[in-house]
């Protein structure tokens, strides 16, 4: 029994030391810059979605912006979609979601994101990546003619992955933070 306790204690100390190794060894200022960078990517996404959704955007431009938007996401990421009338959340891969958004059957579409902030701070995982969750509120307004047809406000959580990478540019090694967005999950939808 005593031996077992010693083994458990040893394992606990070992796991604590391992997690300690995985902790940040970067300065708070540098971490703050990474946090801002990830938030900026979500704001960029917000703008891209409003451009793609807008009926004033030319088809070719919307397609170009879709390609830019896809670059923000990690492979296999999904977007949750909900309506007030249909409480069940549907998930689409990002390209399908963006193409559906572009083809929405309204004369006018206005999408705005607001209150973009961290729900859970970026934290370093044992594999070295930083993972966090950013919450956004999306105001959707779709209308045909002069009458307002549909509008809702949806709270969504976006998983954010930040990974340290290196690339060669002009013969020198450049260290950069690759920010990729993961699944966008619907938390709640209100009128």
């Amino acid at each position: 029994m005593k031996n077992q306790s010693i083994i458990y204690l040893f394992l606990l100390l070992f796991s604590m030391s391992i997690s300690g190794l995985a902790q940040d060894n970067i300065s708070p200022q540098r971490k703050m810059a990474i946090d801002s960078l990830a938030l900026e990517k979500v704001r960029d996404l917000s703008k891209y979605i409003s451009i793609i959704g807008s009926k004033e955007t030319a088809w070719s431009e919307a397609n170009r912006v879709i390609e830019r938007t896809l670059e923000l996401f990690s492979e296999g990421a999904q977007m949750g979609v909900s309506t007030i009338n249909q409480p069940k959340v549907k998930y689409y891969d990002i390209r399908t979601y963006l193409e559906r958004l572009m083809a929405l059957n309204y004369d006018k579409v206005k999408i705005e994101w607001f209150n973009i902030e961290y729900m859970s701070d970026l934290e370093r995982m044992p594999d070295g990546r930083y993972v966090g969750v950013i919450t956004i509120y999306q105001r959707f307004e779709g209308s045909s003619g002069d009458k307002m047809k549909y509008m809702d406000t949806t709270k969504k959580d976006i998983t954010v992955y930040v990974e340290r990478k290196q690339t060669q540019i002009g013969g020198r090694l450049i260290g950069f933070w690759d920010v990729l967005l993961g699944d966008v999950r619907v938390i709640e939808t209100k009128p």
């Binding site: 030319a58 170009r64 830019r68 540019i169």
Partner: protein, 219 residues
């Protein structure tokens, strides 16, 4: 009596010996001084000859001395106070050469400074022009206007694929970057986002004056 005579003789002999010693001592001292004087004169002559040779080499610029080394040499020779007519003439000529050399160096440095300032002004103007384009693209009222400005801005770059690096954090020489992009994508980003959040930090040009790398920094 005989004893007195002997005593007298001893006395005279002693006088004679003393006289001889005194005479040889005086003449020995005199010749020693003469030797020393001759030696000093020879040393001075040697120094003058060496100094003349050094100065002639300096005048003919055979030793590849720097201006500072020339100044040190002339100053060292002047400090010897050799006071020789020919040497003084050589010193004067050397000083004239050094003065001319200094003036030439100052002229070259001033010209170099002027060229650097001109280049800096030119690059600043070019930076400002590019910054203006970035601002204009981000604040374009229409997509057509933005596209026109994107195409105009691209003319400053060697190709649309020119890399754009955005510094997100800097501490001393250490820099963190956002994911590198290309100038075309960056200009389109400005157009799409409608905001110019970065300013130019560094630009690299090719021999034709076109930008081959752009480094920006977050404001």
């Amino acid at each position: 009596m005989l004893n007195n005579i002997r005593k007298d003789h001893s006395f005279y002999w002693a006088l004679v010996i003393l006289a001889v010693i005194a005479f040889t001592g005086v003449t020995g001292c005199k010749s020693q001084k003469k030797i020393e004087a001759q030696k000093a004169a020879q040393e001075r002559t040697d120094k003058i000859d060496q100094a003349k040779m050094d100065l002639i080499n300096l005048i003919n610029q055979q030793d590849n001395l720097t201006t500072a080394e020339m100044e040190d040499l002339v100053s060292e020779i002047r400090g010897m106070n050799l006071d020789d007519v020919e040497l003084n003439a050589l010193l004067e000529e050397s000083e004239n050469i050094i003065r001319a050399k200094r003036e030439e160096q100052q002229r070259i440095e001033a010209e170099k400074r002027r060229q650097e300032e001109e280049l800096q002004r030119f690059e600043e103007n070019r930076f400002n022009k590019i910054e203006d384009y970035f601002e204009a693209i981000a604040s374009s009222k229409s997509m057509e206007m933005a596209n026109t400005r994107v195409n105009e801005a691209l003319k400053f770059f060697a190709s649309p694929q020119v890399p754009v690096l955005i510094i997100t954090f800097m501490e001393g020489d250490f820099k963190d970057y956002d994911k590198p992009t290309t100038i075309r994508k960056y200009l389109e980003y400005l157009k799409d986002q409608g905001k110019n959040r970065n300013k130019i930090y560094n630009v690299q040009f090719d021999s034709h004056g076109k930008i081959i790398e752009l480094e920006l920094i977050k404001m």
